[in-house]
Every structure is written in C-alpha cells, then in structure tokens.
Symmetry: C2
Subunit: 332 residues, 2 copies
C-alpha cells in the first residue's frame, strides 16, 4: 500500500518575501521584506520584472540567513510563465544546482516538499523560490491589461510577489516541517477559467482527507489550516466539502488569497491567487506566528490549477492539485 | 562548500517507451515498446495525443513491472507544453501523488534524480514520466506544420515519444543509479532558436566538469557518455569544449538525438530533441546495454534549453541546463 505521508525532519531556517504595489497596500503590507511601488522592479518588461523579483527574494534570503551562494546545494523554483522562464532567468546568476518545477499555484509547497527530500538525500541546505506577477499572468492567461476586460465575481487577482525559503537540518529557524503529503491531480469537470477556486477546492479536500486518514489527526489539533489560493469562492467550497466529509475545518480555516488583500477596498473579487500568493503569506505572516510562539502547529496547503489557455480552448476541464506541509513551532 | 554529487543507492527497476511514426522508422525503431503509425494515438488533437502517449507509457511500465497503481508513492512528470499540461492530463487518471516538473528537454534526468531523492526520503517506489510530441512542439515553439517553414541546418527534430521509469531500492532491475549531479542554469549568449545544441552544450560541459571534479573520475572509466539532445551540432561543440578542458570524451561519447534517427535518410538536420528523446533512448537502447552486461558503467545527461518563444522575442538569450546520472550494471 502507498505511503501517503512523508515524515520529514527538516527545518525552515529562514524566508524572504518581495511584493508589488497592491500587495503593499493590503492588510499584510507592512510585513513583507521588500516592496516595489510600480511592479516593474526596474525592468522594461513585466516578465523581466518577475525574474528580478525572484532574484531579489533569493538574495534577500541569503542576506537574512547569512548564507553564501556556494553553501546552497539545491534550488527548487517555479512560476506561471510559459516554460517557467520567470525562474530560469531570475535565478541563473546564482551558480546553484537547479530543479525547475511546474505545479501552477501549488509550486510553493511542492518546492518546499522537494527541498525537504533533497535534505534527506544528503543536501546540507536547499532552497525553494516561487513567484507570480499580475501583469504577466493577465496577458498570458487572459488578456492584456490595456484591453480592460471586465472580471467575473469568482475571478481572483494574481499576486505580484516572490517568496524564498531556506531549509536545513539545524534545530533552529522559523518552523519545523514535520510531515508532508503530496497532492494528486484531481479534475472534477470545472471548465470556467474565471472560477479556479471551484476547480482547486476538491484537490485541497483530497489531500486533507488523505493526510488525516494516514496520520489519524483531526482539524482540532491545528491552530490554523490554511490553503494557498482558493480565495473566497474556493475556500467556501472547501469548507462545505470538508463538513460533508465529517471533518469541519471551522474558524481555524483560512486562505492566503483571502488574507493578502482587503476585499472591501481593493476590488479583488474572489481574492488573491498565483504561485507568489501562498509563498509571500507563508513567509511574512504564517511563519512569524509559529516562530513567535503564538501558534504551535499548522497545516499549509498550496493549491494549483494546472490547465493552460490552449487546453481550455480545446475543451478540457481544469485539473488541480494541492500539496500539504505540516509546520510546527520549534521548541526553545 | 557545496556538495555537487548526490550518492544515490537506488535501482532503475523497469522502464517503458512509446514513440511515433518517424521514431519507429529510425535505427532504434524495433527496440521501442509501443509505436503509433500516425502520431495521433487515437486522439483528435496533438496535445491530447501527447497526454495519451504518457498514459500508455506509464500503463506499460506498470504492466512490465507487475506493479499496481497504489504501490507507487510518487510520480514525477514533465513535458514541453505550456503549463506542462501534457503530463497533468496524461497522468491524472492515476491516483498517485504527483510532482510536476519543468526542465525543458532535461526533464528525463531531472525526474529520475528527484525520484531517487523521494526513495531516500522513504518512498518505496517512485516513477518518472516525460514526453514530447513533434507536432505540438512545432506549433507552440515555431509555426504550425501546415505553414511548411523551412528548417535551418542546425535545427533539431522534436521526438514524438514518452518514456517511463520505475525506481526502487530492490537490488534488481535494469541498472543501478549510483550517483547524480544536478545541473545549473547556464546562459552563454546564444539567441538562435534554430540552434539549441549550441545553447545547451556549455550546460552539459558544466555538469560534466563538476561531476569529474567532485568524484575524481575520468571519461575513460565509462563505457559510454551520452547526452540527451545536443544533436550533431551541439554534440560536436561539447566534444570541442571538453577537449579544451583536458577531458576529451572520445568515441565513447554519443547523443540520444544522434542515435534516434538516420541522418542520411530521415531529413532531421541536426538530430532529435525533446523531453521524449533522451527518455525513450534511455529506456529502449541504453538500459538494455547495461542489463545485458555489454556495458558496465555509463554517464547519462539530459540537456534542456529553458527559453520560451516570448522570452526570445523580448531579446533574452537561451538559458540551458543539464542533469547527470551515473548508471551501473547490477551484478548478477
């Protein structure tokens, strides 16, 4: 029988977050390490701006953790751009062995899971870096900003942000990664590109159910259960689905896409999304709750919708995935 | 200091290969497990045909190895389609924890390296599946087939093929994966989309040099040193570069893109390429040389060019990467 849960004995030693203008103006704005006020990060194209954001996030991580480039054994990275060029160009200046990932918006947790496995295989330090950029995603997946298309109420707002994480065996840092559960590709027939929360919620449920079933844990033992970017629509669907399965998530449930913007004033419809969303919220908001001792134990799931614009045009539904990591406060 | 080489104690237990028409007609044609005579695999779109090819390759792997779906702990997969949908749709029918990868044509070795790490982290069995489809790649990266664009002499022919590999700890199977060396992203200024061999050769050299330097090995101890898809152009460049570095590769060097087609009669210009190229050649041609005892030890590098059509239009050069695995015959 399959082993659904990985026992990981790895620590999240440090992290860094870089965001754009809208994210700076949101409720978590003051918590991010670095902000750019025009989302361009000094570059001429949005695509280069996203790469620059990854480069800055990783550099900030090295600075915060006082690590040198040549101490990092492996770098896991991904983004939403075709052929994941955001990461390839963003991190190519660092001479570090590189594993490119594509997990759509689930890439943050995917990278952290795989970096944990790299440490189990003998790496001393491994990093995960992920990003998304609103203007890049809009023109690649939907239409150029200049077109001014109206957005559906269930549509989410792709976060402009990059998060970077350093993992190692040392018994210190922001949090311990105690267990992990990799997602399966789940496709439930949702074809609406403007409602990715609905497509992703069943994938989050599948991973949660497998994790609870394999470990015997219940939602009550966690201070927080947080998904990556189901947003308001998908988050509500997940809560309904979980209740029907007899594991109500209750008030301890939240979603990074719900936390990052002010729904009343920022006009983001169903909340934030993108590889950068769960990455910057994990780094700037969730990890400090664990390292400060406010929380003891949380479940963090990054959720991804794995379609392409072409696959939707060809009539395929949206396959989704959710990777989970269990994070614990490191005892003093 | 960085640990450049992973010591892996994992065996490649079984593999499967599925190819299209042109590959069937090439010199390795009779060696592949399955062939389709019109490259459509019963599907209406080339994109769905590629997914179907992955599905068939993985099913064939399960059948050949007498494994059930629920015995596989983790599946690593990737392809060249935007958002890697070839893999997501191809493998979503299997309820197996899934890690999506993007390494361009280096994904075969990347997946095998990461599957090895998954085994080190406690998985019993892990698989890697990769594919490419000529007609999908032509219209996504270049122009639709109907356009009939003339090809440059240095251009390569994307292989229609999918390869699947089963890894585990059992001391049997096709070959032992003894060591691995992950590639770094190398960009040397090559901007010519019709000469990806030239862009990738320096990445292959970088990985080889780091592997030889970390292990103290020399090319002479290997029966074969084989790259994924440098083709004739990139392969010749790699041999020149290696000679200049004092590690001439000599006649033991070859390339999967050189092996898969007959250059004289098949009109493929600089040889084969694509995620499927190194995967099907490894499965059908290289592994049997090791399992039959004809070869004792080889180095296998998958090489990838990580640009996107948009990044080239925006004036960026082609970043490349090469992941290496050392394969040994399993003693009887």
């Amino acid at each position: 029988m399959r082993k659904d849960v990985f026992e990981l004995k790895v620590n999240l030693l440090a992290s860094a977050s870089v965001v754009g203008k809208k994210e700076s103006a949101g409720p978590l704005g003051p918590l991010f390490d670095l902000r750019d006020e025009d989302d361009r990060f000094g570059k001429k194209t949005w695509e280069s701006a996203e790469s620059e954001m990854q480069r800055i996030a990783f550099n900030t991580l090295l600075a915060k953790s006082e690590k040198k480039e040549n101490e990092i054994d492996a770098l896991f990275a991904g983004d939403l751009q075709n052929q994941c060029v955001g990461s390839a160009y963003g991190l190519m200046d660092f001479n570090i062995p590189y594993f490119g990932l594509y997990g759509a918006c689930s890439t943050c947790a995917e990278g952290i899971l795989l970096a944990s496995m790299a440490i189990a295989s003998g790496c001393r330090y491994a990093c995960s870096v992920t990003s998304s950029h609103n203007c890049v995603a809009e023109r690649q997946y939907r239409s150029p900003l200049e077109y001014g298309a109206q957005r559906a109420p269930t549509a989410q707002w792709t976060v402009t942000g990059a998060g970077a994480f350093l993992l190692g065996k040392e018994e210190r840092g922001a949090a311990r990664i105690s267990r992990g559960c990799a997602g399966r590709v789940i496709e439930m027939g949702v074809r609406d590109l403007a409602n990715m929360g609905a497509a992703m919620a069943p994938a989050a449920l599948d991973t949660l159910l497998r994790f609870f079933s394999a470990t015997g844990e219940r939602p009550e033992v966690y201070d927080c259960i947080v998904t990556g970017d189901l947003g308001f629509e998908g988050g509500a669907i997940l809560q309904d689905l979980a209740r029907a399965e007899g594991i109500p998530l209750g008030k301890r449930y939240t979603d990074c896409g719900q936390l990052i913007y002010d729904r009343e004033t920022q006009d983001v419809h169903a909340g934030g999304s993108g590889c950068g969303c769960s990455a910057v919220v994990l780094s700037a908001y969730l990890l400090p709750k664990l390292s400060s001792g406010k929380w003891r134990r949380i479940l963090f799931l990054s959720t991804g919708a794995m379609m392409s614009p072409d696959s939707i045009k060809q009539g395929r539904a949206i396959p989704a995935i959710a990777h989970l990591i269990e994070l614990e406060a490191i005892p003093e």
